[in-house]
Assembly symmetry: C2
Homo-oligomer: 421 residues x 2
């Protein structure tokens, strides 16, 4: 645990030292430490709620909205959920030490490519205090030290949760410094963290565009951005329209505030006149506000749709709003997605295998769906277990960032006095 008198660079150096030991811990030790963390969370509920109450009080005093206060609030049930999340991570396969490749060169050199931890991961988050525990558990399981920097509004909660995790882990054989919490002391400190290239191997931000912009400007440490998702559902000429309606509704309505929810519906001209009035009525019935291009508005009648502005195609609403456009072809849909998409999750609804394949090949995104809702982009839904976010970048990790994505690899080469000629 970071103590107030330690400097940021002390904390990072201690994490680096701890990471060398962590990288060599066996699965059993790491899993036992995770179980110790889960038990400690369950045992220390009163302390945790007490610290959380201080944050809630300060939040209410400073006029935090009720929605934000609710995100911040811990309850015995929420703490229990954290503990069971930690146990679920313990139950996942250990990614460290996995042999990715192994080959023998003609000269007799034996080369193995082995998955190893990254080292020290900094997680910068603005959200719920449970991220403290989720991130600590994922990093520990993947053999990484973690430096956690939550928001100042959750300072007491994050601090006690970090202390509970660090103390339990340390009692179970995890080196001191492996789980550290630093408090959000403003952008100056974020900049310092983001330039500790000798100590920090990766920064994962979980927050809004302001946080992303600050890191883009200042970070010299590698960053994986869990960027926004401007996701599309394209209803092809040959779509099963009943299926299409179900998928569009699910992608928009089931949980509109998340990055894998749909923000734009694209409909092939050949089915627009049949499909649009039906789906528009269903969407409006579910409380969705629609904004359409001219043709979409015309073909949706009798449902009345507001006109879409140019910005609508680039907007991640994260609420019950959906942009609607009619396109002339699959290629036009692909083009629209290339221009406006963010490379997160894109879907086609079609009964035409060839169209499905063309769409999947041509669309440049982490996840490309055929006849399924974009809402499935999620580490849990992919069977990877918990995730620390979804990456829309192409380097290193694309899509759900789970345990394996928190690792790198190294080559181990064995010779018998081999020299190069």
């Amino acid at each position: 645990m970071a103590i107030a008198t330690e400097t940021l660079s002390d904390v990072c150096r201690a994490a680096k030292r701890a990471s060398r030991v962590l990288a060599t811990l066996d699965t059993q030790t790491k899993d036992a430490a995770l179980e110790a963390i889960a038990s400690a969370l369950e045992e220390r509920v009163p302390e945790i709620l007490e610290a959380n109450a201080l944050d809630l009080e300060a939040g209410r005093a400073s006029g935090l909205s009720e929605a934000l206060v609710d995100r911040l609030a811990l309850t015995p049930a929420r703490v229990a959920a954290m503990a069971s999340g930690v146990r679920a991570i313990a139950a996942l396969p250990d990614p460290v030490g996995e042999l990715l490749e192994s080959f023998r060169r003609p000269n007799g050199l034996e080369i193995r490519k082995l998955r190893v931890p990254l080292g020290v991961i900094a997680v910068v988050y603005e959200a719920r205090p449970n991220v403290t525990i989720d991130a600590a558990a994922l990093c520990l399981k993947s053999g990484n030290a973690v430096v956690l920097r939550g928001s100042s509004s959750a300072a007491h909660s994050n601090s006690i949760l970090g202390a509970v995790a660090a103390e339990a882990a340390s009692g179970a054989g995890v080196p001191e410094g492996a789980i550290a919490v630093i408090q959000g002391r403003g952008r100056e400190e974020l900049r310092e963290l983001a330039t500790q290239t000798a100590q920090i191997d990766l920064i994962i931000p979980r927050g809004g565009e302001g946080l992303k912009a600050a890191l883009l400007e200042h970070a010299t440490v590698p960053v994986i951005y869990a960027a926004s998702g401007n996701c599309h559902v394209y209803v092809d000429a040959s779509a099963d329209l009943e299926q299409a309606r179900r998928i569009v509704l699910n992608a928009k309505v089931q949980r509109p505030g998340v990055c894998n929810a749909a923000e734009t519906l694209l409909v092939h001209r050949d089915v627009a006149a049949v499909f649009l009035p039906d789906v528009a009525a269903a969407l409006v019935g579910a409380g969705v506000e629609l904004r359409g291009d001219e043709l979409a508005r015309e073909l949706s009648r009798p449902v009345e749709i507001a006109p879409a502005s140019a910005e609508d195609w680039d907007t991640e609403y994260l609420e019950l709003t959906l942009a609607v456009a009619v396109v002339d072809s699959l290629e036009a849909a692909v083009e629209h997605i290339a221009e406006h998409g963010t490379g997160h999750s894109e879907a086609i609804v079609t009964r035409d295998q060839d169209a499905a394949q063309r769409f999947q090949l041509a669309v440049d995104a982490a996840c490309v769906y055929v006849n399924a809702s974009t809402r499935f982009t999620d580490g849990g839904e992919f069977g990877m277990g918990a995730e620390i976010g979804n990456s829309t970048q192409k380097l290193h990790a694309r899509g759900p960032i789970g345990l394996r994505e928190l690792c790198t690899y190294k080559y181990l080469i064995e010779g018998d006095g081999h020299v190069r000629s």
Copy 2:
């Protein structure tokens, strides 16, 4: 090919458009285009040498050293070597479309993880003109568009080589804009290139620390740094000393100017008195200047060694100089490497299997050798074929950057009307 009147952002946008088509080309088309490039190089030797002569003339006039003039110079043999390099890349397996994983979820969703091109890769280089062709061929084979930015001293050579490649590729069905050369118009332009996040998916710099610093400061596009190699050979207490001598000499002397050459020799105290006089004599005999810590100097006698300063441990000499230290244990060697190494290539010479394993696990580097020279860190030596550099970073690509490392992946998910509940 970029024409002088095109702006940098025109070139990048054209490359992005081309990359969408490139990503869908089959192996046969790409290999035929590579063969066309190889033939065109062979056919257009006179033009290429003529352009090169202009660069050589300007270089001599501006007082370029003979070594740099030699790096710049093209000959019929060097052009032929480029052509055969392109054919070797054509002969490599196509990384694109490789199925990395495939699984079916309990709900029936079929998920495939497929290797796909990154998109547009910018290669910024200061070195020999042959990089123009190497980089173009590697990017084409991996389905990526490439924007090539060489140094102004090689402007005419890079321009004709880029034109030869682009024209030949375009005649063989590769979209226009897939291979573009821009001229080094100074740091302002580099900054513009390094911030084209909508068009460029990756920048690979091949150059000195100045280039790296400029990119670290300005780049918002992802960069893979092929950083320097401060590589160590550690001679363990149980080493076969004859093998150790051979490996140390090879790692230092065989080609001192490259990143996988050794820069520091660490010797276990138990064998230092026997090993050092012998290896020091051999190294000095091979023209190596030695700089030792106190104990190394004492134990190397009768060979006289200059004292090492604190900076020596952090210096990548890239010439016939070697720092030498005596360490008390394998752990002390690991500690020294953790403090001074750059994570490139590190070697232990030992007959003790347990020591070998401890070293390989504990040393955090791209390539960790047992009883072999560090000089083997190379795409060709690893059987990956040509490489575009060696990465010392941990994200995405570590070690040799070959065809697969120029790719990303995407998830293709097929359902039958699946929605999330």
